[in-house]
Amino acid sequence: MLLTIMLLIPLVGSIAVFLLPASKPALAKQVALGFALITLVVSSVVVVGLDNSTGLLQYVESYEWIAAFGISWTLGVNGISALLIVMTAILVPIAMIAGWWDAENATRGTAKGYFSLILILESCIIGAFAANDLFLFFVFFEAMLFPIYFLIGKFGGPQRAYAAMKFLLYSLVGGLFMLAAMIGLYVVSARELGTGTFDVVTLTSLNIDPGTQKMLFLGFFFAFAVKAPLVPFHTWLPDAAAEATPGTSTLLVGVLDKVGTFGMLHFLLPIFPEASKFYAPVIIVLAVISIFYGALVAIGQTDVMRLIAFTSISHFGFIVLGIFAFTSQGLSGASFYMVNHGFSTGALFLVLGYLVSRRGSKRIADFGGVQKVAPLMAGMFLLSGLSSLALPGMSSFVSEFLVLAGTFAVNQPAAIFATLGIVLAAVYILWMYQRMMTGVPSQEVTETVTEINRRELSAVAPLLVLLIALGFFPQIALDSLNPAVQQIQEYIGFSDPQAPVVIEGSGE
């Protein structure tokens, strides 16, 4: 019941907020924040109660729903999904606090609408991470498009309508492919078992013939690759992230996109092991291209929000690389990367949001010398940036290096190319910092940019504390991720390669 409750809390909250009178926006916002915080508490209870000795699903609950089609309301979490749910539950209240006044200036929407949509979104995302019935997952996967569509389309920047439409079309097309593949999978399961099912654990145990696997795999992969997004299915992301409010961008890039990479880990690898192995070399190439392409195009951006969006495309490349390396370091690294990326990209979007709303421009060239007028703001920005470039000491370093180590063990050229990506990461972050924060501030910057305030700081500081704390104590997260990863390796029948030189009594 716990998972259903966790999923319903934000939904109930959203209805409650929606029913409040529009004349009291402050109350609506406080109520919304309250529900988001309760969700955070419940999700923490779930994680703390997690049994780290097994990679199987926990807190499983299953209710029959549409028996005729073998559809059930099945929820369950393992270490990976539980951590992603906590990350979601952390980022939602933070996005609310950071964007406390974002909806006030919107021409089309109201503050209560904005906060209510965020809560609906949270509910859908938690549902997608916890669903273990493929049809149920699909319902959440599609349903979450609508709150995001309105969040961008109603509250975004001048090009919001275009960006929202583009996002929706891309996602719907991706979803269509997934729907087709899902029906195919249902038919296969019906042929194998007599009655069709959408239950993920049952589907995992099927022995689907490799040819069919390869067909069905593509349908799912396309949907996930659009969501994650991999080059060349990415162009919706920069538009959406640049037009949305910073809080929405945080949830979109930091959380919602993870449903794509999570889908690869949780559905693709276990259900289609043969096809995953078959396509892995190609996908690894795509991932490496994404790493480079995202980073290089990020360097070329003049709009700072687009720049961050492109860095995320590069980071998603790392995540996908780790997943399709199949090694324990690759898989654990990729899962941990998802969490860290949520925090560090969130921090970047939020700090930049503060700056953009002060200066009234997203153009990098309109800034300069910010550290002179707002040193604390510049410091927060630098720390978030250092996390994005995976500086050792930050948690993103641990995950990035695990991905590299996991990849190097099976595919050296890909790992070597990916390693070169760390130079590009330094270029896009530090050059951005140099252009925006250093130098002598222009008159416009001096007049408009003020120091970060208490509310804004209270939203960003927890993220930075988490990034540093997990950098030194990553095992807190990895202990939960490792068993789930072992389980995935078992499903695909892959074990880590052994080091050729075995050292006796090597101390450790």
Binding site: L168, G369, Q371, Q475, E508
Partner: protein, 619 residues
């Protein structure tokens, strides 16, 4: 105890950087106390170590399991042996002196607290680098010193040149970090462990090519951090940072991390002739290149920076010689740490008295105005050019001797380097302290306060006696032998022949410089009708120009064309499909939006309806 060494300065950094303005009044003093306490702990640990028999001198400290995923098992643990302790003493000793000096140097800077916070952060990071017990934890220290260096080079952030220099240092160092990352990856897949012990034990069992590749990757890492060819270009720009930073980070400690890395990984280099040869070549090129750049610089700090490159070139070269060179690489590193820090602090003291002017053409005749600075600088000068019995003589001479044992050309390179060193250092002495005064009008040179001169005096004493103390009292060769191994060079040229030749070369270089700069008046504006070689040296041997045409311009071109490609080609292609399928085009945007929105709403409504019906049917 080892954790406290690192923990104290780290605590200082945290308090100063998070404490805000409240700590402004006493923050710098806290930083000094933290650094000094760390030094005292180091001294205690050193005494303990001296008191133990040779084979019991290493101690370790395990804190917790940092990362454990499958075979990737990394403890957060420290390791203190004879090699680490000399580094710890150098870092905390010179570090504390420079903290004290900075009290005076940064007295009027509004961001002094921040400066001291960064200095403490640097000390903690550097200690982590040399105390880590595995390559992965070393990597954490390695990049943390890079961060501290970045923050301190671009400390004057409102100055565009300083901001650019910090960024450049970080990025060039990241190229080196790729080397360290690849070395670690190779070690992990080959040995399944990243502990120093495990890698050393396994090196002999691995395929020789693998060992060579690990060695070359480590060399790339060393080139980045130690500003060796071809990654040297950042060091000269790094002089944008405050002068105490140049002394501590970009002369005495951080830039020697590459030497530490190679010596620490000697088990790898011992087994690969190819890797060792590459190390020697890089060292030889850099020692000549740095010295060459040093000959034409009018900026006193850049002159010293060229010299640092060159001296580290000597250390790298020595490290590449294998067991005959490791201990001398470290020996030279230690003497250099003292005399070069002293020289930089002297330069800072001169600048302090000259309104922060760094141009030596505006100096002259300062020996009477700044007596202490002159005397301490002169001792550093004698030490670096290798005059007996000053510190540099003992260490550099051993390297030259060992180099001749390896190869005649390498030997000649080190000998030539010694002559050029004598030339540029004499030029620097002559232009700064001798000749006629060429001061700018409103400049009134004065000696620096005692808080600055006392650290200079201490370092000058080190420059004078440090070499002898380490060699004769400390018996540095045999102190380090259990860690690095040691062999006497098998030489056809004996020291008895080599020392007089070396001294003659040094005297020649110094004498020629004196003729050019001591005896002749120095023009206040740099002459422009100079030889091509001088032009090349002034332009840092065109390092930046080469980087720019090889990497930066093509990189910019690639970035720009990809950005264009992304906007026009990919997005255009998808947009074209969309237009074809749905009749969507830019002109009918308004219509489209209405269409999509209503489509979206319809679908949402429909989905909800279906869901409701399904639920009801179930019930």
């Amino acid at each position: 105890m080892i954790a406290a060494l690192i923990g104290l300065p780290l605590l200082g950094a945290v308090v100063l950087l998070l404490g805000g303005r409240r700590t402004n009044a006493w923050g710098h003093l806290l930083a000094v106390v933290m650094s000094a306490s760390s030094f005292f702990i180091a001294a205690m640990l050193f005494m303990q170590m001296v008191g133990k028999p040779e084979e019991e001198r290493e101690i370790g400290q395990f804190l917790f399991d940092w990362i454990a995923v499958g075979a990737f098992q990394i403890p957060f643990g420290f390791y203190l042996d004879q090699l680490a302790i000399v580094f710890v003493l150098l870092i905390t000793g010179v570090g504390t002196l420079i903290h004290i000096y900075s009290i005076g140097y940064m007295a009027h800077d509004p961001n002094r607290r921040q400066f001291f916070g960064y200095l403490n952060l640097f000390i903690a990071s550097m200690l982590l680098l040399v105390l880590a017990d595995n390559y992965f934890l070393l990597y954490l220290g390695w990049e943390s010193v890079g961060l501290a260096s970045y923050l301190l080079i671009s400390f004057y952030q409102q100055k565009p040149s300083a901001a650019a220099a910090g960024k450049k240092a970080f990025i060039v160092n990241r190229v080196g970090d790729v080397g360290l990352a690849l070395a670690i990856l190779l070690m992990f897949v080959t040995f399944g462990t990243l502990s120093f012990e495990g890698v050393a034990a396994g090196a002999g069992l691995a395929a020789p090519t693998t060992v060579t590749w690990i060695g070359l990757a480590l060399l790339l890492a060393a080139c980045g951090k130690s500003a060796q060819f071809p990654l040297q270009s950042w060091l000269l720009d790094a002089m944008e940072g405050p002068t105490p930073v140049s002394a501590l980070i970009h002369a005495a400690t951080m830039v020697t991390a590459g030497v530490y890395l190679i010596v620490r990984a000697h088990a790898i280099f011992d087994l690969s002739e190819t890797a060792r040869t590459a190390v020697v070549i890089v060292g030889a090129i850099t020692l000549l290149l740095g010295a060459f750049i040093g000959t034409a610089k009018d900026d006193i700090k850049k002159g010293l920076a060229g010299s640092t490159m060159s001296q580290i070139g000597y250390m790298i070269l020595a490290a590449g010689l294998g067991p005959v060179g490791y201990v001398f690489a470290i020996f030279h590193l230690l003497t250099h740490g003292m005399f070069k820090a002293g020289l930089f602090l002297g330069a800072g003291s001169v600048m302090h008295g000259m309104h922060d002017d760094v141009n030596m053409r505006h100096y002259g005749a300062l020996r009477t105005m700044m007596k202490v600075t002159y005397a301490t600088f002169a001792l550093g000068f004698l030490a670096i050019i290798g005059v007996p019995p000053f510190a540099g003589f003992w260490s550099k001479d051993e390297i030259i001797h060992a180099a001749f044992g390896q190869n005649l050309f390498i030997g000649l390179a080190t000998l030539l380097g010694a002559g050029v060193t004598a030339f540029y250092m004499t030029r620097m002495m002559a232009m700064t302290f001798f000749g006629e005064a060429r001061w700018e009008q409103d400049v009134k040179p004065h000696e620096s306060p005692a808080v600055m001169t006392i650290p200079m005096i201490v370092l000058a004493l080190g420059s004078a006696f440090g070499g002898m103390a380490m060699l004769f009292i400390g018996d540095i060769e045999h102190w380090l032998e259990p860690v690095t191994g040691f062999a006497y060079p098998q030489n056809s040229v004996s020291k008895a022949v080599l020392i007089p030749i070396t001294l003659a070369v040094i005297l020649g270089g110094a004498g020629y410089a004196w003729l050019c700069y001591g005896r002749r008046p120095i023009p206040v504006d740099a002459p422009t009708n100079v030889s091509l070689l001088t032009k090349a040296a002034r332009a840092d041997a065109y390092g930046d120009a080469i980087n720019e045409s090889l990497f930066m311009r093509p990189g910019q071109y690639l970035t720009r064309s990809l950005t264009w490609f992304d906007a026009k080609a990919i997005d255009g292609f998808v947009g074209g499909i969309a237009a074809a399928v749905g009749g969507l085009s830019a002109r009918s945007r308004r219509l489209q939006n209405g269409y999509v929105r209503s489509y979206a709403l319809t679908m949402f409504g429909g989905a909800t309806l279906i869901a409701l019906i399904l639920l009801l049917v179930r019930l």
